[in-house]
């Protein structure tokens, strides 16, 4: 009952009330503006619309069939067989086969795959692992494992099987058009235009004058957006801001890593930089998902941090900022200040310009609503892994606790993903990782 109520509340909170409660209308062009790259992993909006995965996550966060019709595990989750949907075509007309699925998956992760081997078995794809893979169906819903092949037509590039196909890119606008032959059915909206690398203030301006239908709202500006009476769609906390530490070089010393973990002031980050819109966390999973986050203390202990650093005066450490947004730069500067107070010297650099930074401020997307799968997914993104032989909370907690004890990843804040939308969008929902589900959207004023 609690779960149903919670999920109902969650889903209800994620749905914008539609003005006219009819079946969805077809047609029209939806205009979206973003600050980043529409193809980025994870969470790139175009990636979601053009490419499908073998599985997808349902509204309640469970893996559902997508390009795979069904799946079964054998040998205590060491072997998984996914049966492919038949009659699915890529945007260039090529048929989806187990051969091109295996090729796509193999190139997706190279040596950092959650499986040991993936191979063709008739119209199925078989994964085998040296250790159990209870979360494989959930992991395959992630953006890293969407199926793409090189186009065989003149247009070139990568093509997928998704509801929209790439039509062109001009003047900073990526245009996607409806895939009439989509296996899930043609989407309602004829075209999606994504204006990329658009400053947030310009996005809001475009929304206010009717030039955009969906724009981003950074978490720290959520209150401002509401004050300006924007129609805001906010997810639960789904984006983890964390500090990733190198395990070699100066930070090969675990005491120094522990000192850094104790020196970070999460409260200041939350209050000053993110305007209290984040959930302070020292756990990799948010409290709403795990329920045990309180077991990881979030407090700062500068004396203990100095004690752990001991007499060591480490050389200047580089702190890279992934994504390079202005806000994340600010957060990095704040962390650098915290660490200086503990006796560290920090130089903040852009991730692109630092090949092997000592520390990296990163964002991780919570793609699954099953705690064990979510933990595995985050660690996979971080290039780490822990043994998770089963999906119980006790096992998940133990694995997370042991991993965090190594201080290779220091969770800081969980942030919501938020958007503001125009009134003409209907049935706009956020999927479990907070991204908007644009494929299901229709327009109220469609012809």
């Amino acid at each position: 009952m609690l779960r149903q109520v919670a999920i109902s509340c969650l889903v209800a909170a994620l749905v914008i009330p539609a003005a006219a409660r009819t079946r969805p209308h077809y047609g029209g062009t939806m205009r979206v503006e973003i600050e980043g790259d529409p193809w980025q992993r994870p969470g790139g909006l175009a990636r979601r619309l053009v490419f499908d995965g073998l599985t997808t996550m349902s509204a309640d966060g469970n893996p559902q069939p997508a390009l795979a019709l069904d799946w079964k595990s054998e040998n205590d989750d060491h072997r998984w067989q996914f049966r492919l949907r038949s009659g699915v075509h890529f945007h260039d007309g090529a048929l989806l086969t187990s051969v091109n699925v295996v090729a796509s998956l193999a190139s997706a992760c190279n040596t950092n795959c959650p499986w040991t081997t993936v191979r063709v078995a008739g119209s199925s794809v078989v994964f085998t692992g040296d250790s159990p893979m209870p979360n494989l169906p959930a992991l395959l819903a992630g953006d890293d494992f969407r199926i793409a092949i090189a186009a065989t037509n003149r247009a070139g590039g990568l093509v997928g099987t998704g509801p929209y196909q790439t039509a062109g890119f001009a003047n900073g606008v990526l245009t996607l058009t409806a895939n009439d032959a989509c296996w899930q059915g043609r989407p309602f909206v004829d075209a999606v235009e994504i204006r990329v690398h658009r400053a947030v203030r310009d996005q809001w301006l475009d929304l206010s004058v009717g030039r955009a239908d969906l724009v981003e709202v950074p978490a720290e500006q959520l209150r401002l957006a509401r004050d300006q009476h924007l129609t805001v769609l906010a997810s639960p906390p789904v984006t983890l801001l964390a500090l990733q530490l190198a395990s070699s070089g100066v930070l090969g010393n675990p005491n120094l890593r522990a000192a850094i973990a104790l020196a970070v002031d999460r409260s200041a980050l939350s209050n000053v930089i993110f305007q209290k819109q984040g959930e302070i966390t020292a756990s990799l999973l948010p409290s709403a998902l795990a329920g045990y986050s309180f077991l990881f203390p979030t407090g700062r202990d500068l004396n203990r941090a100095r004690e752990l650093r001991g007499g060591i005066a480490p050389p200047t450490l580089t702190l890279a900022v992934e994504g390079g947004s202005a806000l994340q730069q600010l957060a990095a500067q704040r962390i650098a200040l915290n660490l200086r107070e503990a006796g560290f010297t920090i130089q903040v650099v852009n991730a692109a310009s630092a090949s092997h930074p000592d520390l990296c401020l990163r964002r991780f997307s919570l793609e699954c609503s099953e705690p064990s799968a979510a933990l595995e997914s985050i660690l996979h993104t971080a290039g780490q892994s822990v043994p998770l032989p089963e999906q119980s909370l006790a096992v998940t907690f133990k694995a997370e606790h042991e991993f965090l004890d190594r201080k290779l990843l220091i969770p800081l804040l969980y942030l919501p993903r938020t958007y503001a939308s125009a009134g003409r969008l209907r049935d706009l929902r956020l999927v479990p990782d907070g991204a908007p589900d644009l494929a299901q959207v229709s327009l109220e004023d469609a012809p």
Binding site: M1, L2, R3, A6, I7, S8, L10, V11, A12, V15, A18, A20, R21, T22, R23, P24, H25, Y26, S58, A59, D60, N62, P63, Q64, P65, D70, W71, P137, P163, D180, A181, C182, Q184, G185, R186, P187, F188, S287, A288, L289, A290, G291, Y292, F294, L295, S369, E370, P371, L393, A394, F397, H401, D427, Q440
Partner: protein
């Protein structure tokens, strides 16, 4: 204190104690408290420990003393006594929860070492009550399928369902309907994201006629042994779909205590067909025979009996406007603000004898149905909401007119597709 007051006080105290005992004995916290106590004892062993409890969950705070009592009892039964804060051992219990379940966590502190254990708590369930009203709607599941169901028809020889690419025949079995045959429609064009279909009894009342986008199918039944044989023929077609079908002869209607309005007035219902936009999810507005007025594109239509001489068409257009097509004019209906895109007419022995069953939303996660009366040009709610526990994707009147059928899409668990449930909805009088 007078003796009477003393007796009263004792009675009150006894009542409270009895109430607490009764509460504790039937408490939903007994099982998790016992399980957590067992886990704690497994770590700590017999001895003394200082027990603290904090509540981070939605459990009401007035439940905490009872939970504490249960934990203390269970720990004591295993040889662990709750002691004061001076004890070297501590048990810190946190009542927590996540979006899926409640979680009770114990941090067992022995000296410098802290060990953690946790148990899940079955949140239990609460009953739900529906407000009373003149008419009560009831639903009965007819069929559940993991495939998309667009429409269904119960015939004397089985259940026929229409899927986007197949016609499926089900036969009677002890446990309900059992799939007998799947016949490809031969759909060559990709369907829209919100596909629709209809199925009606054939004029001979033995077979059926079905439509999906771009295709028309007819099914006929031959009563050969042992289980009969269905033949289905499908052809590409842009013919109009039947949206109003003359009801078959219904001798039993006359025997009802309150005959339905059309049986009393003997209004003939003529078949009406409408052209469907195969690339979209609505009818174009072109109907045959013509109703003397240009109709807008619409999602649903049904014929409603309003008087001895009038059986106009009720439509809901693609902007959500409900209109009556009467005497060559479109008349807007009020009171339909909460209607979705689908409705169907039901004949019952309640109220006026005819109710309109309307869905509450086109794409709601948890949809509902409600009965309405239409005495004038205003729809009057006549029943409480009937929760359908999913999204209503299709709604139509049964051939006998006495029930409506709904297809409800329900989210499924991990590793499986959504489930489609065909429900029969009937009305009874309160």
């Amino acid at each position: 204190m007078t003796p009477m007051k003393r007796v009263s006080l004792v009675a009150v105290v006894l009542s409270i104690l009895m109430g607490l005992t009764a509460y504790a004995s039937s408490s939903p916290w007994e099982q998790p408290a016992a399980a957590l106590a067992e886990e704690i004892v497994g770590i700590l062993g017999p001895g003394q420990a200082h027990l603290t409890i904090r509540n981070l969950s939605t459990i009401p705070t007035d439940n905490i003393p009872a939970i504490r009592r249960l934990l203390e009892q269970d720990l004591k039964a295993h040889g662990v006594l709750a002691s004061g804060a001076e004890s070297a051992n501590a048990i810190r219990v946190t009542l927590s929860e996540n979006i899926r379940e409640r979680l009770w966590v114990a941090e067992v502190v022995e000296g410098n070492e802290t060990r953690i254990t946790m148990v899940h708590v079955d949140p239990g369930s609460t009953g739900q009550a529906q407000a009373g009203s003149e008419i009560a709607l009831r639903k009965q599941s007819v069929l559940t399928s993991s495939k998309v169901v667009l429409a269904a028809l119960e015939t004397a020889h089985g259940l026929v369902t229409v899927e986007p690419e197949e016609i499926v025949i089900y036969g009677h079995a002890a446990e309900g309907w059992r799939e007998q045959k799947r016949l490809g429609i031969g759909q060559k064009k990709p369907l829209a994201r919100d596909p629709r279909g209809v199925v009606f009894p054939a004029p001979d009342d033995e077979g059926f006629v079905a439509f999906v986008a771009n295709m028309a199918c007819s099914g006929s039944y031959q009563p050969v042994q042992p289980a009969g044989n269905w033949t289905v023929r499908c052809t590409e077609s842009d013919d109009p779909w039947t949206i109003v079908q003359p009801p078959p002869a219904q001798p039993n209607i006359a025997s009802q205590t309150q005959p339905s309005i059309d049986s009393q007035m003997n209004i003939s219902v003529a078949p009406i067909k409408a052209f469907y936009n195969a690339a979209r999810n609505y009818f174009t507005g072109v109907v045959t025979p013509s109703l003397g007025v240009d109709l807008p594109p619409f999602y649903s239509a049904s014929q409603v009996v309003r008087s001895a001489v009038s059986a106009p068409l009720l439509i809901i257009d693609i902007d959500g406007k409900v209109q009556l097509v009467e005497s060559g004019a479109l008349k807007p209906i009020t009171g339909t603000r909460d209607w979705g895109s689908d409705f169907a007419v039901l004949h019952s022995s309640c109220g006026s004898g005819m109710q309109i069953i309307a869905s509450g939303s086109g794409e709601a996660v948890s949809d509902s149905l409600r009965a309405y009366e239409l005495p004038t040009l205003e729809a009057i709610p006549a029943s409480a909401l009937l929760s359908m526990d999913g999204t209503v994707t299709a709604l139509w009147t049964a051939p006998d007119g006495k029930s409506v059928f709904a297809v409800v899409r329900k989210p499924a668990g991990p590793g499986s597709a959504d489930q489609y449930e065909v429900d029969r909805v009937t009305a009874s009088c309160n």
